[in-house]
Assembly symmetry: C2
Homo-oligomer: 226 residues x 2
């Protein structure tokens, strides 16, 4: 008899898309084996796993799944306990809008410029950070903090009154920046309180234990009281 | 008594994200008033409609909706006839994976470099096209055609045996490129046949009638037999 094998996630530690999937797996208490996929190194087999050449890729239910948002929607549909999507179309729209806010806009304006200059160039030995890109990311993050803070002044969670995929998508991006200390939490108390709450969930433990070799996390990174 | 007003879509003609929403509205026979939102011109009120500053924005059911993928999922949930999502979680994953393929990967490698250099710089009077970017887009589009062709050798529609949101997302991107004649349809018969079928749907009429001032469409652009 075949026992279903443990799901396996091909990932890298400071990727917001991989973290989103890890957090949702954790919240749903699905055990997963993490396998680091350094797709930029010779010998990476990423293209055999995903024709788009991107991580995360999840091996589960006998298949390979790619694209983080498509994966977490699949996980929410197949493991509805706890549900991470609201039960109205308008509620689900708001969750998806905010996930796209992070995966498209926040990534382009903040996560990508900052991480590629301050982390990936170092890890991939690809030269020195371009300080203009870093600065533009640090400028943009302020506006984002203000917008998220204004949402959280009115709402308990990012997309409304329940914890959803939007909170984990947001936390996936923000936690990558927080690793290198690039979030000014003092700018918004409501955002800081929200992050402290998300960070204290058991699903966050694996993410808080991440270590990128040659790049120690900020001292407060794994602290629940920061 | 209040009669519900006609939905209104803030858009621009050659935007793949706006086209995706237009095509899905058309397929579901939802009448819509199109309003051009030239967000780069002084006086644009886009930020009042969408804090992300992006189009498409749809006014419908008494609210403003943004983010194309979140919008089309909302439309599919609230107007399920015809359904544009499969009825299994794995089927829906495949649709969402392919939508993300276009909105993330294809956009970054093909649609954005080609359109921003060959269309937007002209429309926005922002200088001359950078031919390296155009060339890299034209190189990448070949690999994408081969991948899509290989999918369509096995499947009737892009995500399987039924017409879904993935077909309209793909057609939204490809039709923008086809306007300026940048798709080599002879490279894959199965892709060409698929595009001819999608293009002949009534939903496509409005998109085929688009005209960008100062930039005439390729002669075959609106022809169903191309
Ligand atoms: N839309 C994808 C984005 C994933 C993504 O961009 N992953 C990066 C790592 S953070 C990657 O694999 N990049 C490799 C490449 O683009 O070739 C998703 O949501 O899964
Ligand atoms: N993720 C968005 C992307 C929309 C998008 O990038 N729209 C472009 C026009 S094609 C835009 O409004 N750009 C203005 C800006 O980024 O400031 C969606 O799917 O709706």
């Amino acid at each position: 008899m075949n026992t279903p094998s443990t799901p396996r996630l091909y990932h890298i530690p400071l990727s917001p898309y991989c973290r989103k999937v890890r957090l949702v797996l954790g919240e749903k208490r699905i055990d997963v084996e993490l396998v680091e996929e350094r797709w930029w190194e010779a010998g990476s087999e990423i293209l055999r796993r995903n024709p788009a050449g991107k991580i995360p890729v999840l091996r589960m239910d006998g298949r390979l799944w790619s694209e983080s948002q498509a994966i977490v929607e699949y996980l929410d549909e197949t493991h509805p306990n706890p549900a991470l999507m609201p039960d109205t179309p308008a509620g689900r729209h708001e969750v998806r809008r905010l996930c796209a806010w992070f995966d498209d806009k926040f990534n382009e304006e903040v996560t990508r410029p900052i991480l590629s200059e301050r982390v990936w160039k170092k890890v991939m030995k690809a030269g020195y950070p371009d300080s203009r890109l870093v600065k533009s990311g640090l400028r943009a993050v302020k506006e984002h903090i203000d917008y998220l803070g204004s949402l959280l002044d009115e709402r308990k969670w990012l997309a409304g009154n329940a914890l959803t995929l939007a909170d984990f998508t947001a936390a996936a991006h923000l936690s990558c920046l927080d690793y290198i200390s690039d979030v000014d939490w003092d700018r918004s108390n409501s955002l800081k309180d929200w992050y402290a709450t998300v960070k204290s969930r058991p699903a966050f433990r694996s993410v808080l234990a991440d270590q990128v070799s040659g790049l120690a996390p900020a001292p407060h990174y794994a602290e629940l009281d920061f």
